[in-house]
């Protein structure tokens, strides 16, 4: 390659940022440093924490493997999974009609799409633990409050993503059915939902994983599940039992993730 091929020479490898871009980068760095200060970031504490962490590990190990404790924790773990599954299933089912109202250009006018999407945004903005506190007040302590919290949290997640999935679904089959004179609801049921089904399944499996993770801590606020055992373990300095709970949660959550991944591959992977 000779210079005569490019009379103007090769373009520079890096573009010089504009003055505005430079200001934006500088502002972003200042905001991050300001956030570190607000979060109480301390190098001293980072340096001094390993010995304290090692002390906790020393006191927590070996985990409490007393059969009676394991049996009690096992039942609580089962209750946790029941809360997660029941809440996720109710949430996923209710999300479908809500998503139909939220999806633009399907069955509802734009102003209804906006209202429903705003409502879903509000649901997502409130953390699941806060929903659990609300439902503990509404229906009392116990797993039912946890299940409701998981259900509403799942609606916020799945409602939004189901709506996006339907909006992004292949429009071809819908147009062909519309061209036969089919009604909007028939077109959605016969073309849009089947086209979005692989995405629905994937989103639902993620929602179930999320529900299992969330349900393990709902017990901290009295909404059932194994979280209460974790809180009691730490409150009573019974670190071996707390460690057992942490390990059980880790094993269950990782197993659910693997199971979900396997199911996703089996169900969606068969698509051609």
């Amino acid at each position: 390659m000779t210079d005569t091929s490019f009379p103007m020479g090769l373009p520079s490898r890096y573009e010089r940022p504009s003055a505005l871009a430079f200001l934006v980068y500088a502002a972003a760095i200042v905001i991050v440093l300001w956030s570190f200060a607000g979060a109480g970031f301390s190098i001293d504490k980072v340096i001094s924490s390993p010995p304290r962490f090692a002390d906790f590990i020393d006191r927590a190990f070996p985990p409490n493997l007393d059969p009676k404790v394991l049996a009690r924790l096992g039942w609580k773990m089962l209750e946790t999974l029941q809360i997660a599954l029941a809440g996720a299933v109710i949430g996923i089912i209710l999300s479908v009609p809500i998503a139909l109202l939220a999806a633009r250009g399907l069955i509802a006018p734009t102003w209804i799409n906006q209202i429903v999407r705003t409502g879903l945004g509000f649901i997502r903005a409130v953390p699941d633990i806060a929903w659990a506190l609300v439902f503990v007040v509404a229906v009392g302590l116990g797993p039912f409050a946890g299940m409701l919290a998981i259900a509403i949290d799942t609606i916020g997640f799945c409602g939004r993503f189901f709506a996006d999935d339907m909006e992004a679904a292949d429009k071809g089959p819908s147009e062909s059915l519309t061209a036969t004179g089919a009604r909007k609801l028939d077109v959605v049921a016969c073309a849009t939902i089947p086209a979005a089904m692989p995405a629905f399944i994937s989103t639902s499996l993620f929602a179930t994983e999320k529900a299992v993770r969330s349900s393990t801590i709902l017990g901290l606020v009295g909404a059932g599940g194994i979280g209460i055992e974790l809180k009691v373990g730490f409150d009573l300095f019974d670190y071996p039992t707390a460690m057992t709970v942490i390990l059980m949660i880790a094993v269950v959550v990782i197993s659910i993730e693997y199971l979900s991944g396997w199911a996703r591959t089996k169900i969606i992977g068969e698509q051609r």
């Binding site: 062909s176 036969t180 086209a195």
Partner: protein, 290 residues
């Protein structure tokens, strides 16, 4: 270059009611010479479709304007033109799937631009669409896809799937599949068909409701030449058996001349060509793509 001509066509299916016959206008074709100089007879034929002064633009960019033509009962019309001249847009305007900017469209007695949603649905229930990408619902069975072709005439949950459909609808769908030679694949998932099979199922879905007008948007574009020929032969055999009016888009000039009674050409924002296929040569049509 515009030469209008009406071909005498065999009378259409006896299933058309008298009410429908009375609801459509009739076209008295003027006796005038075509491009070859031969005088065309002036039969009185019912007109299934009449477009006058149609215009459409997207985001201020005109696609076409002042497009006018009519289709008489049983005619097969090819629409040709280069990419971006608005062929598919024109078909979508005819079905009321997208709004036109100006002009009038009358399809089977329905004023498309001023009709209610219910009126448009009733009109579309008498039409069938075959698309370039076949547009089957991939996860459903072949039979369910064809049963859904009846949704315009029989709306509701019973026609969402062949599993819920009444026996008469299942039989009609299977008969349509038999016509395209795929009854033996009724239970196969639509996404497990070859391209040619998939397009045949799309034809069965379009025909199951016994439409009066069939619209095909580049039906062979995604098929290899042999499969494309098969599909076109089948499509026009069935359309002529049923006496259906056909409008099809094709980039294949041979197809336009072989299967169309008339050829409409879109170019430069208008429709400079409206002529009998028999009076056109492939060379003349290629001129539209220059």
């Amino acid at each position: 270059m515009s030469v209008r001509c009406i071909r005498t066509q065999a009378t259409r299916s006896s299933t058309i009611s008298l009410v429908t016959e009375l609801s459509v206008e009739t076209l008295v074709a003027p006796a005038r010479p075509d491009q070859t100089g031969a005088e065309i007879s002036a039969p009185v034929l019912p007109v299934d479709l009449r477009v006058t002064g149609l215009a459409k633009s997207f985001a201020g960019t005109p696609i076409f304007k002042d497009v006018s033509f009519g289709l008489s009962r049983g005619e097969a019309v090819a629409i040709v033109g280069a990419n971006g001249t608005g062929k598919s847009t024109l078909l979508r305007c005819l079905m009321g799937l997208i709004p036109a900017d100006a002009g009038a469209i009358n399809v089977l007695g329905t004023d498309v631009r001023n009709s209610s949603s219910a009126g448009l649905r009733a009109m579309r229930a008498q039409m069938g669409l075959v698309s370039q990408k076949h547009n089957l619902v991939p996860r459903l069975s072949v039979l369910s896809n064809v049963v859904q072709g009846l949704l315009g005439q029989r709306p509701g949950i019973r026609h969402w799937s062949q599993s819920f459909a009444p026996i008469a609808s299942r039989e009609a769908a299977l008969a349509a599949l038999e016509k395209v030679g795929l009854a033996h694949l009724a239970n196969r998932r639509a996404d497990r068909l070859s391209g040619g099979q998939s397009q045949r199922v799309a034809i069965a879905r379009a025909l199951v409701g016994q439409p009066k007008i069939l619209i095909a948007d580049e039906p062979t574009a995604s098929l290899d030449p042999a499969a494309g020929e098969d599909v076109m032969d089948l499509f026009f055999d069935l359309a002529r058996q049923e006496g259906v009016t056909v409008i099809f888009i094709s980039h294949n000039i041979d197809h336009a001349l072989q299967y169309g009674d008339r050829v409409l050409g879109l170019a430069e924002g208008g429709m400079p060509l409206d002529s009998r296929a028999s009076s056109l040569s492939a060379q003349e049509l290629r001129g539209l793509y220059d």
